[in-house]
């Protein structure tokens, strides 16, 4: 193995790849531009929808307000506007109002306040929550007034207060990030490497340059190593850019939006160099494995088009271990750390959470390195097979 030959071929392959629009699009443009733009678009949509729902939830329909004196003041005090309507169900179903409220007298003389809402609609649910909060407040105020009149102190009504403390506050962002991002990154890594793998194999066959390269003074092991290195670079660059651009766009989004969940997500994003470095290290053997498999499969094809049709089922097959990781409650046990793709996604999640186990890290890295070596060996065997390279 002469590494200067490998280096010469690698440089040529990289130069050729970065001038290929398809490779450049999937390797750079998608992670760097499309994903942040898409995230921004989703955030804008969520914000607009919530704002509209909030605005609509301000005004409610009301019927029989006279049956409960003080109700209108209580609703107005909670910032709600109200319009009298007879048929509350029809008013909500026609979407004229988000929700409705109606006090009724029960046969036993007690009073009941009915809230009408369509819980499949976000605005209706928001309005119903506001009405409920206003009514709770109204109920408590009335009770306090009566107790004071009876000479009972306020403390009787409020013997204690309740405060919920989320012990995983800081971990929430890591959990959300790790759960979704790992799968996005691994999936985009595959698509980022796909066009490079095809271009350097089936593309070379189609353009009739492979024969010339094979007759040049370079060994087949050197040629295939350079091709896999070039594809690995494309896969790895995609991973790096996806992580970087998503991190930056999440932070930006967090600063721009007031939405509490998104804000919490952005504030808890672990963006230190150590975390990102560990994730990139965890992804390296997977990148080599993905590149080797793609190069090996694409070598069977005689044309670019044929290679795309061969690699598409491979990409679909890769989605299954990724989906398994999205199931609730899945954790990276030493046994599960042996499953390729699944293990690296779970490991990413645990790294983001900040509580990965060293054993899982080592098992994942070692098993993925073994898979990468096996995939590389397979690709070399395929490349040395005449019946594959010159398939008729």
């Amino acid at each position: 193995m002469r590494f200067d030959s490998v280096s010469t071929i690698y440089r040529k392959e990289m130069l050729d790849s970065v001038r290929d629009h398809r490779t450049l699009l999937s390797m750079v443009v998608v992670p760097l531009i499309a994903l942040p733009v898409l995230s921004l678009f989703v955030v804008k949509m969520v914000t607009v929808v919530e704002r509209r729902a909030g605005a609509k939830a301000q005004t409610i329909a009301i019927s029989g307000a006279e049956r409960l004196p003080g109700l209108l003041n209580a609703l107005a005090g909670a910032g709600l506007k109200f319009v009298p309507r007879e048929d509350l169900e029809a008013a909500i179903e026609s979407k004229e109002f988000a929700a409705g409220v109606e006090p009724v007298e029960l046969p036993d003389g007690r009073k009941e306040v009915r809230i009408y809402a369509d819980l499949t609609r976000q605005d209706s649910e928001m309005a119903a929550q506001r009405i409920r909060a206003a009514l709770d407040q109204f109920k408590e105020t009335n009770a306090r007034i009566r107790l004071r009149e009876m000479g009972v102190p306020d403390e009787v009504l409020t013997p204690f207060t309740v405060e919920r403390v989320n012990v995983a506050q800081k971990k929430m962002a890591g959990f959300m990030w790790g759960s979704v991002l790992g799968y996005v990154v691994v999936f985009l890594m595959s698509s980022g490497g796909m066009y490079a793998a095809i271009d350097l194999t089936a593309g070379e066959k189609e353009r009739r340059t492979l024969e010339i390269l094979l007759s040049a003074p370079a060994g087949r092991s050197e040629i295939i190593l350079a091709k896999i290195l070039a594809t690995t670079t494309a896969v790895f660059v995609t991973a790096f850019l996806t992580l970087a651009s998503l991190a930056v766009s999440f932070v930006y989004i967090g600063r721009q939006v007031a939405q509490p969940m998104l804000k919490a997500l952005s504030e808890g994003v672990p963006l230190d160099i150590g975390t990102l470095g560990l994730i990139l290290l965890a992804l390296l053997p997977t990148a080599v494995m993905i590149a080797s498999i793609m190069v090996a499969v694409a070598l069977f094809a005689k044309s670019y088009k044929e290679a795309v049709s061969y690699l598409t089922p491979v990409m679909i097959a890769a989605i299954f271990p990724l989906i398994a990781g999205l199931l609730p409650g899945t954790q990276l046990t030493p046994a599960l750390a042996l499953i390729p793709l699944f293990n690296v996604c779970q490991l990413m999640k645990e790294i983001f959470l900040g509580d990965y186990s060293r054993l899982s890290l080592v098992i994942t890295l070692v098993s993925n390195t073994v898979y990468a070596a096996a995939a590389y060996y397979f690709a070399v065997r395929v490349f040395k097979s005449e019946s594959v390279l010159f398939r008729t």
Binding site: D20, E211, I212, L214, S215, P217, F390
Partner: protein, 254 residues
Amino acid sequence: MIQVRNLTKVFNVPKRGVVRAVDHVSFEVRAGEIFGLLGPNGAGKTTTLRILATVLQPTEGTAVLGGYDVVQQPEQVRRQIGFLSGDMGLYHRLTPREILTFFGKLNGFRGAELKQRLSDVLARLGIENIADVKVDKLSTGQRQRVAVARTLVQDPPILILDEPASGLDVPTARVIEEYILEARNAGKCIILSTHVMEEAEYLCDRIAVIHEGRITATGTMAELRAATGKERLREIFLCLLGLESLERKTSRAI
């Protein structure tokens, strides 16, 4: 420079079974000689040349180029040869300078020596002005000059040319022919495949007619004329392929 003995290549083709693409082929090519492999499509010309270029491995037989065996010492063989085909095999997204640099480096040239070679080759083929234009922007003729430049940059003693002028117009084909004749005069050993009679007659010192994987005759034009009693290479070729009677019938019908 080239010694081929009983070279055989068998393929297992789906739906066709075992196919003997090359069947016990033997010949020799000396330095300063142009040896033509003349045959119809599918005769085994390209397979023979691919074995000589170490792209394919023979099923049986031996081929030695410049003293190196294609099976035992393929990398040494590759340092002795320049391979050129009608497809040209150029990287369309690279410029001629980038392609020549790439192959120059693979052949072990570096630094000032590589730079000098590039500049000489570009000047010799008159392509300095297009050296930094991507290949996909070049005309067919310009591309073929670049393909020739690729083989010149390494300046190998043996040239393997697989239908090098296939599909080219007359002026462009002329560039290739001049290149081949110049290489012969410089003492190179040249083997070329073709199915164009004029090209074979004009360029080749000796010709081997190959049909269904076997060589049916080898010799100079004079020797082939004497062996077949025919004057024109086209008639000699058809005679050696056993298609003479068909041509006579056609001639009579006309």
